[in-house]
């Protein structure tokens, strides 16, 4: 299994590459065997006559809150600093808005930092090569962080690899739903400032490679429905209802991945699908013509893609540099007949598309006994039902309470689970 560093952003030693591939393999191995069919392979090299698909991508803005509380509230929640990031930024894309004071002393948004980098990759490097991870962080942050900021200790080299993983989890990466880390007391989200005040890489467990692999292999099946004894392709409602995972239908990323993979399998009557090397989550380049500053194009150095190559970037910093007097909300976003100031990350994410690079190859036709006949869904999945929206609605109550200066409940609602 030959996966390089995501986005080819980093040169990996053979050993580090092996460790990264072990991480991926573990995430795959942790999935239920019943989900694993021959229509998905972890090794893109196995594909016969492979072709790349550009169909598995989605808008980066959080979909679920818009279903539950409408777009305006979704924007408010998503742009609600670290709270918003940790609660609703669940589309394999996280961001932080950096602020600064203007000449009047008012705090204003300066730049948006968007990352689609997997925590598992950073944690893997941090575990096995502290110098490497510090170099990566320096490159991203623009200044070299201390060991204590990265690991919470003065010298991570003195720790074992497992101790480094735990230490890095505490300060920068969180536990990512990894049982070993949870048992070791690593919190779900990191406590260090590097990945709280900045968007160093994704930290929410839902934005991890195990979830990505799960939704991909969930789609890599020969599903069908046959309402009048005529076999046809199942729809999203059919697939997610049949397996009682209707929550997967209610965001952008999960249904796009699952149904995109399924579409490749079904339409080719048996294609085999894999993540293209390197496995990563990539930002497609937006149309910058919709942004303007002072009536002209946004300067090139206000749009900084990094951590990858053209077509496979995983990081975007958008907004004026520190030494420029302008602020993010001096940028105008032209949408339809409106001109609106760019005030946060949500507006920007709506202009971006996110997704992994995937490939499909020829395979044996689907055999009769491989078809999985599903019952047609009884109806359209309601993504605004009270139960699945409870966490988002509770969050909105907290947000409004805070905005109105009232005392808000101090408990953090659990975000929706996939």
């Amino acid at each position: 299994m030959p996966y390089d560093a995501p986005g080819h952003a980093d040169e990996l030693t053979d050993e580090l590459r092996a460790r990264w591939n072990e991480t991926i393999a573990r995430a795959f191995a942790s999935q239920k065997d019943a989900l694993k069919k021959r229509f998905f392979t972890l090794d893109a090299g196995e594909l016969r006559n492979p072709f790349s698909t550009d169909a598995i991508k989605w808008p980066g803005d959080p979909g679920k809150p818009a279903f539950c509380v409408g777009e305006a509230n979704a924007q408010a929640l998503s742009d609600w600093g670290l709270t918003g990031r940790r609660a609703v930024q669940l589309e394999y894309c996280e961001y932080m808005v950096l602020t600064a004071r203007d000449a009047t002393g008012a705090l204003r948004p300066k730049r948006v930092e968007i990352t689609t980098e997997f925590r598992e990759f950073w944690a893997c490097v941090a575990m096995h090569d502290p110098d490497k991870v510090r170099a990566m962080a320096t490159d991203v942050l623009g200044a070299e962080p201390s060991w204590r900021e990265l690991y919470g200790v003065a010298d991570p080299h003195a720790l074992s690899a497992e101790e480094r993983e735990i230490a890095f989890g505490h300060t920068c990466a969180g536990h990512g739903n990894d049982r070993r880390l949870r048992v070791a007391g690593v919190p779900a989200q990191p406590t260090g400032r590097l990945n709280m005040q900045r968007a160093l890489f994704m930290t929410h467990p839902i934005n991890g490679i195990d979830d990505l692999i799960y939704v991909a292999i969930f789609g890599a099946h020969a599903y069908c429905v046959a309402p009048r004894d005529e076999r046809r392709q199942a729809g999203g409602d059919d697939v997610f209802s049949a397996f009682k995972v209707t929550h997967l239908a209610c965001n952008h990323a999960d249904p796009t991945i699952s149904l995109g993979v399924y579409d490749l399998v079904y339409q080719a009557r048996g294609a085999q699908v894999a993540f293209q090397n390197p496995l990563g989550m990539y930002i497609r380049e937006p149309n910058l013509d919709v942004f303007s500053h002072d009536g002209g194009r946004v300067p090139d150095d206000w749009v900084r893609f990094s951590r990858g190559r053209p077509g496979s970037y995983m990081r975007l910093e958008f907004g004026p540099p520190d030494d420029h007097e302008a602020f993010l909300d001096d940028i105008t976003l032209s949408l339809g007949a409106s001109e609106q100031p760019l005030t946060g990350g949500y507006q920007l994410l709506r202009e971006l598309e996110i997704g992994p690079l995937m490939q499909a190859g020829e395979a044996e036709p689907i055999a009769e006994d491989e078809w999985e006949l599903l019952e047609p869904a009884p109806g359209t999945i309601a993504c605004d039902d009270a139960e699945s929206c409870r966490a988002v609605r509770d969050l909105l109550v907290r947000y409004e309470a805070e905005r109105q200066g009232r005392e808000a409940p101090r408990t953090m609602p659990e975000p929706p689970k996939p």
């Binding site: 550009d54 991508k57 796009t256 149309n287 013509d289 303007s292 339809g336 007949a337 598309e353």
Partner: protein
């Protein structure tokens, strides 16, 4: 129970009628929502009568309309929600960010920032932005023409005029499944099972009264035929993404010219016949960048599920038009050189649960963003000015709700008593009765 209005031919096997009219209705100054509702109620009733073969000026005369299969659809524009006394706030899909930009008062101007589409230089006012629009579709031209004339009559006969017909656009479908650029059109429309999920506003919105409705986008687009015909066949095919004769999708640019799948179309069929639906109607994903830049590839990235607005799938229902125009004078054609003395183009009509689908398709990078039509526009300037817009509008199409005298009546803030249906042949013209009261949530 809310349901989509008629006139959206999304059900399997249903084909829209051959003839089309889009009528745009302005609310006269000083007229509020209640009076506009009364006028719309009267208009709606007249149009329903027309479907049944009854014309108000011909009492007792039954017209032969069996073959017309006429449908009528009513849309509400942004201005409808600005009327005094309106019962509902402007729906989200009519927010400014989902509307087209205005034409430049001096003529022309971009349709959207980030799009390569512009208004024609002769267009200084966009006529498709009125408070209401009515779409009429029928199998006969007479039926849609008559709807236009009868609309004028009913509005001008009103004792207290509230609405006026400001403009209308006509179109027709071609039975060769092609457009004026000679290529097949409309082949890769949505799979039938995906359509309702794309068209209908579903639950999961804080505007429950809009559920079951949809948004109509209308673009009157003219084609620079002289410019188009200057291109070679190969350049045209790479711009469209299909073979000019067979309609089969181009799979690579090829050294000797664009290539298609050798199995396309299925032997003994035309590309638009159902035998090709599964394999060839929808262009496959391709890797050749020249083909990826073509119109059909830019407009559809094959993203699933279609019900997610991120797929940018829309349901299209377009009608060609041809009209006389003074295009022979220098600059009369929207491209270069003299025009043919007429204007040919497309009444682009699409239905979607949010206009964002269409607007993002037209502006997003890698999609149609920055492109006028598609193809290699940097190398072929004819393509960069192939299309020009003569009118553009976005309308909310309210659902049909039991008890409402016309779709969207509640949005205008007045409960209007439902009346018994008029018997065939009756000459009765009961006036709509405004009973007052707003059953809908406050604006």
């Amino acid at each position: 129970m809310a349901a989509l209005q008629e006139g959206i031919y999304h059900a399997p096997g249903r084909r829209p009628g051959r003839h089309f009219a889009a009528l745009f209705l302005r609310v006269l100054p000083g007229v509020g929502a209640r009076a506009a509702a009364a006028a719309l109620g009267d208009l709606w009733e007249m149009l329903q009568d027309l479907k049944g073969g009854r014309v108000r000026d011909l009492p007792g005369v039954g017209l032969t309309v069996d073959q017309d299969d006429m449908t009528v659809l009513l849309g509400f524009g942004r201005n409808a929600f600005a009327l005094d006394g309106v019962g509902l706030r402007r729906p989200r899909g009519l927010a400014d960010e989902y509307l087209f930009r205005s034409a430049d008062p001096a003529g022309g101007g971009p349709l959207l920032r980030g799009s390569g589409l512009s208004y024609a230089p002769v267009v200084s006012a966009n006529m498709a932005t009125e408070a209401f629009c009515v779409q009429v579709i029928a199998e006969s031209k007479l039926a849609v023409d008559r709807a236009v004339v009868e609309t004028w009559k009913v509005l001008s006969d009103a004792s207290e005029p509230a609405l006026e017909l400001t403009t209308f656009y006509l179109g027709n479908q071609r039975n060769d499944h092609r457009s004026w650029i000679d290529f097949h059109d409309g082949l890769s429309n949505l799979r039938s099972e995906d359509r309702e999920g794309v068209i209908a506003i579903g639950p999961g919105t804080d505007e429950p009264w809009a559920v079951g409705g949809t948004y109509l986008a209308f673009l009157r687009i003219a084609v620079d035929l002289p410019g188009w015909r200057r291109l070679s066949r190969a350049d045209q095919e790479l711009a469209v993404g299909r073979d000019k004769l067979s309609g089969c999708p181009i799979v690579d640019a090829g050294g000797d010219g664009p290539r298609v799948d050798p199995g396309c179309p299925v032997a003994g069929t035309q590309i638009w016949e159902s035998a090709n639906d599964a394999q060839f109607s929808e262009p496959p994903e391709v890797s050749d960048p020249l083909v990826r830049a073509s119109h059909v590839q830019r407009a559809n990235h094959h993203i699933r599920p279609a019900s997610d607005s991120g797929s940018r799938r829309i349901f299209r229902q377009g009608y060609e038009f041809l009209e006389w125009a003074d295009t022979r004078s220098p600059g009369g054609s929207q491209g270069t050189g003299c025009g043919p003395g007429f204007r040919a183009g497309l009444n682009f009509v699409s239905f979607q649960d949010t206009p964002a689908r269409l607007l993002k398709m037209l502006t997003a990078g890698g999609w149609l963003g920055g492109a006028n039509f598609g193809g290699d526009e940097a190398k072929l300037p004819e393509l960069a000015s192939l299309l020009s817009v003569f009118a553009a509008g976005v309308y909310f199409v309210p659902p049909v709700v039991d008890g409402e005298p016309f779709p969207g009546a509640a949005a205008l803030g007045a409960a209007i008593a439902a009346r018994p249906p008029v018997e065939p042949g009756s000459t009765a013209r009961p006036d709509p009765t405004i009973t007052g009261g707003a059953p809908a949530p406050p604006a």
